[in-house]
Symmetry: C2
Subunit: 179 residues, 2 copies
DNA sequence: GCAATATACTAGGACATCCAAGGGTTTGGA
DNA sequence: TCCAAACCCTTGGATGTCCTAGTATATTGC
């Protein structure tokens, strides 16, 4: 990480927007830019913690998702939907996790199109250890005040719902589409 | 964008964290995951608007930065610092912008190590048009309530300062002043 | 003044993401 | 029944980000 800048570049961008007569959108521009930059900082922090485990964030997310599935296995398209990434990104992650012996592919019992991703014992162990590391080194020291965490969850939750990520109301339980 | 999920996957992840006895870090985990996902959604929206201009967000950011520099030119290392990306990312962006005739490289008048990035007239025009599009199609319809925008700017600003992005005090001080 | 150190940019490689396209499997309507 | 449409996964290509290393230029210190 380089030396801190003397001034906040996003605050400066906001001033530039206002100076050019775009005051009406200067604040949302600043908020959105701040989200982009914060994501970059958080991702770097997370990847730093995962590196000793030979994992990237994308691979960790898949591993963690599998570890929470009761059977330890999920169809690839389901993983793609839950992680909200493109199917090819899941293919990529599975390729590498499989090469590392952390997951394996198995055919779906009834649907010949579908491939199941299955956690190996090594994969389950590594997921546990990596989660413990993230919990203590990132999430427990997130850098956000407690009430700000709640604000973020609320604000970004509303945004994501409006963006079409999901459709439920806050707090309910049901598992859909068991085929 | 696929069909909305019936349930919020991040809220589910939070429940999983709590069920495994990690309640103390479940909320920060959810907040951080939400930031990652929100960034992904916003980036996709922005890139969609910029695509007709032949720009990506990375190239647009550089173009916009140059357009706010009085001389329309910046040293590459300065651009790297202000955009807070790795120098090689700037090299990459400049390569492509130069190929498109939007910027050009010129030697620094006094420092032989430094290369200046200069906006061409075409680059300046395109920056204006792209900014207008982003303002009306993204920032003016950000999907955040007005007071939530302020919250985001405050929360993420504090985070970025603590993370070492910059060192100045907030522009509009609500805290006791010390001059 | 000259060598050692620091700084600036670029080349090459690893990863991740998306899109477009292709081949196999299933489903559903004529 | 049967073929077209829908669905699932993978391959190949484009982009962006970072890291490491290498080259060139400046600055510093003796």
């Amino acid at each position: 990480m380089a030396t801190p800048l003397p001034r906040d570049p996003i605050a400066d961008a906001r001033l530039n927007w206002e100076r050019h007569g775009w005051s009406d959108v200067a604040a949302p521009m600043a908020a959105i830019t701040a989200i982009m930059r914060t994501q970059q900082l958080l991702l770097a922090r997370i990847e730093g913690v995962l590196k000793p485990f030979g994992l990237t964030f994308a691979r960790y997310e898949l591993l963690a998702l599998l570890s929470f599935a009761r059977s330890g296995a999920l169809p690839m398209n389901k993983a793609s939907a839950l992680l909200q990434v493109h199917p090819t990104s899941v293919t990529n992650a599975v390729d590498r996790l499989q090469q590392a012996g952390l997951v394996l592919r198995s055919p779906h019992p009834t649907d010949g199109r579908t491939t199941l991703i299955e956690l190996t014992p090594e994969g389950r162990t590594l997921a546990k250890r990596a989660t413990a590391a993230l919990n203590s080194e990132v999430f427990a020291q997130s850098g956000f005040a407690e009430q700000d965490v709640d604000q973020l969850i609320r604000i970004l939750g509303t945004f994501r719902r409006n963006a079409g990520d999901f459709s439920d109301e806050p707090a309910r339980a049901e598992w859909p589409d068991h085929h």
